[in-house]
Symmetry: C2
Subunit: 122 residues, 2 copies
Amino acid sequence: MAKVTLTVCTTCRRIAGGEPVAEEPRPGNRLLDALQASGLPDNVTVKPVECLSACTRGCSIALSGGPARWTYVYGDMDPDQHAQDIIDGVSAYAASQDGIVPWRERPEIFRKQSIARIPPQE
Amino acid sequence: MAKVTLTVCTTCRRIAGGEPVAEEPRPGNRLLDALQASGLPDNVTVKPVECLSACTRGCSIALSGGPARWTYVYGDMDPDQHAQDIIDGVSAYAASQDGIVPWRERPEIFRKQSIARIPPQE
């Protein structure tokens, strides 16, 4: 099965979609650190990106994995609250064939904080 | 160069991000029709999708094309106003190697109505 990438925007200045904060490191960077420090499935790689162009919905992340899977973008993440839920969600995504996880098996932040999804490319 | 896919959400009920309308066919379907009726580069395929999960930002579209290109999601499209601008934008995207079109060469609707972008997968 194709490997999965969890892309984390490190430029995001918002926490859970709130007003931008001036703190350093930025909330997006803190979210990246929290995810990299956590136990992820072997077939999941965490990658930083400078901008996901979802700036008003930060912190933001994307899940992708080969041409057979749907891609998902999620926002309004909180680096202090949501790392474990993100790991649970990306683990379920990585275990699926096409990226579609049954609705009730998705963490609430994925059910409620979707920004967009993109169909498989093949 | 990898072919490019212009994905159009046919479920969208909004026009330019306004309140949902009850009209049939839906605005998203009308946008699909307008794009399919237009002249697109040979390496661009228009594909309908039932939902891009960007419902509050309809009409919505996505541009993608192989593992070497960035993927973009745009919203607040108007099926009566924006088909030609979308064609111009996807043509420039299709002519690029990595999907990144110089800022000033992007149509205004792409500069101002971005929902998200996702890095190349390779």
